[in-house]
Each structure stands twice: as C-alpha cells, then as structure tokens.
Subunit: 151 residues, 2 copies
DNA sequence: TCAAACAGTTTGATAATCAAACAAAAATAA
DNA sequence: TTATTTTTGTTTGATTATCAAACTGTTTGA
C-alpha cells in the first residue's frame, strides 16, 4: 500500500511542476510574451462567456480583490481585459476579455485539452470513466479538507 | 468525447488549485508561519538525504540560480537551510537542511502522503490502478512536450 | 437622511522572478 | 607557466504577485 502512495504522490508532484513549467515556457516563446502564467490564469478565470465582477474572479482565483485590481490594471494596459462599470450598481466592475484576450484564452484552452486528450488516448471509454471517478474522489477529499481549514 | 475532456480538464485544474491553496493555508496556520509555499517547495527540492548544489536545485525547481540565491538567503536567515562551500571545488555551494528544515520537510511530506492515502482509501483496487494509469499517461505526455520545448 | 455595509482602488511592504553585470575559481589553451 | 575561457554562484534593477489596511464612491436600511 505505501509504495503505491509514494508513487502516486511523486507523479502528482511531477505533473504539477511540469504543467506549470510548460505553460510558462510556451507563453514566453509565443506571440504573448508579455503575459505571465499568473496573468494567464487570471485571463482564464475571467473567461470567454459571461461577464464576471472583480469579487467573483478574485474568489475564483483565491486572491484578494486588491491583488486582482493591480493585475487587471496591467492586463488592461496590455489590452487583454476590459473593465466596465455596471449600469445597475455603479460600485460593481465587470471584467471581460478583449479580442486579443479571447485569442489567448483559446490558445491556452487548446493546450489543456490536448493534454487531457493525450492522457486518455490509450484508454477505453470505460477506463476513462474510471479515471474520472478517481479524480472526482480526489476532488471531493480536497473540498472537504478545504472546509475544515481554519477560517 | 469532447465533453469528457472538458470535465477531466476542469477537475485537474480544480485539484491543482486546491492542493496549492490547502498547502499554503496549512503552512500559515502552523508553527512555520514564516515559510511561503514557494519556500516550502525549495526546502522540498533541497531534500533530506543528499547534499545538492545551487545549480542542481535551481534546475529541479525550474528557476534561475539568481532567484534561488535570493530565496536561500532568506531560508538561511530563518534557519531552515545551511550553505556549505565545497572543499574540492571552491566555486560550488552545497545546500542542506538544518534540523528545523528537516522537521518541516517531514511535516510537508506527511501532508502529501495523507492526501493520497485518503484519496485512494475510498477507491477499489481497480480504480486506484486506473488513476495511476491515467497519471502515468499524463506524465509521459508532459515529458515528451517538455523535450519539444524550444531551448 | 444618515450611518453602515459593500465593491473596488490605492498604497506600502515583502517575496518571487528574470536578465544582465559581476566576482571568484577551475579548466583549457597558448 | 601564463593567459583566456568556462563555470558557479552572487548582486542588482526591473517587474509582477501578494496582502493588509486605508481610502473612495455607491447603495441599503434604520
């Protein structure tokens, strides 16, 4: 039992580091050199489809609104994000991607989809379903752990 | 097929974010409040057992030696890491954990093992095998991708 | 109407990061 | 041997990431 735990653990750690590193490197050698991996994740959290408020995006990313404001300042300057004050509640800021932002979003999304597609390439439909179940378990455990976290 | 890819992808992303967030939060509410999650990973990369040079650790972490030097300065100041000049080659610096560093290393390692153990506890043998198979595929894909990366 | 609550912004401090300039030591070439 | 090049690590300057706390403007509710 223990060796399996160690093995799964080292694969998870290694995968984690690789994904981050590859994403970073891919960005830096693309036409989007001026975007860091953190900014990429902010763009991802803002998303293509609905408008999201600053608070919503900050919560999704697990950072404070202050941090997000600073980051969005840079992304607006670099023309990836638009800020729009809500008409119905003038305190609220809605964030949306620019054309350039949406292009980058799609590129990043493609990387992720390719990655997963390759992962399940050699699996049958049923096996992929079971992998999915494993991920659901892991996710469930983490969500429960999160709730038990102090404050 | 496509919807499954999307679903697996969002679970992976969510799992990654949760692990990072839980690690960070766990550290900040422990006796090791003065260590950030990045510093924790540096301590992990230095490791318990062999001595490693600055270059080796930087490579393992995927950061420049300059960045690591700065980080190690802080970890030495906070008494988690020792710097030792090599006797045989006076250019080389060997990094090693202090007693406090080793204590923290073990704590972090335990968190990881508990996480995996808890995750596969609820799974059947077959499910755990398939999770493992999925991870191996994913890891293989990432290693191949890394090799194709420019320089 | 006016105080409290809310949504974001700004600021000051610190950490993380890189590239480039630098210093010291070792290896290689002359 | 001496000079040059390469290697290992440090320092520095710039930018980003982050938080907490102070702040601004807006809305809500007493």
């Amino acid at each position: 039992m223990e060796p399996q735990i160690n093995e799964i653990n080292s694969y998870l750690v290694s995968i984690f580091n690789d994904v981050l590193m590859i994403e970073e490197r891919t960005l830096q050698t693309s036409q989007f050199k001026d975007v860091s991996i953190k900014e990429m994740h902010t763009i991802d959290a803002i998303g293509m489809y609905q408008e999201h408020t600053t608070s919503e995006v900050a919560k999704k990313l697990g950072i404070t609104v202050g941090t997000l404001t600073v980051s969005v300042n840079n992304l607006v300057r670099k023309d990836y994000v638009n800020r729009v004050r809500s008409e119905t509640d003038r305190r609220v800021v809605k964030l949306a991607l620019t054309k350039k932002g949406r292009l980058l979003y799609r590129l990043h999304d493609k990387f992720h989809r390719d990655m997963v597609r390759e992962t399940i390439r050699e699996m049958s439909e049923a096996e992929a379903e079971l992998l999915m179940k494993g991920l659901v378990n892991l996710h469930g455990f983490l969500e429960r752990t999160k709730e038990q976290l102090p404050e």
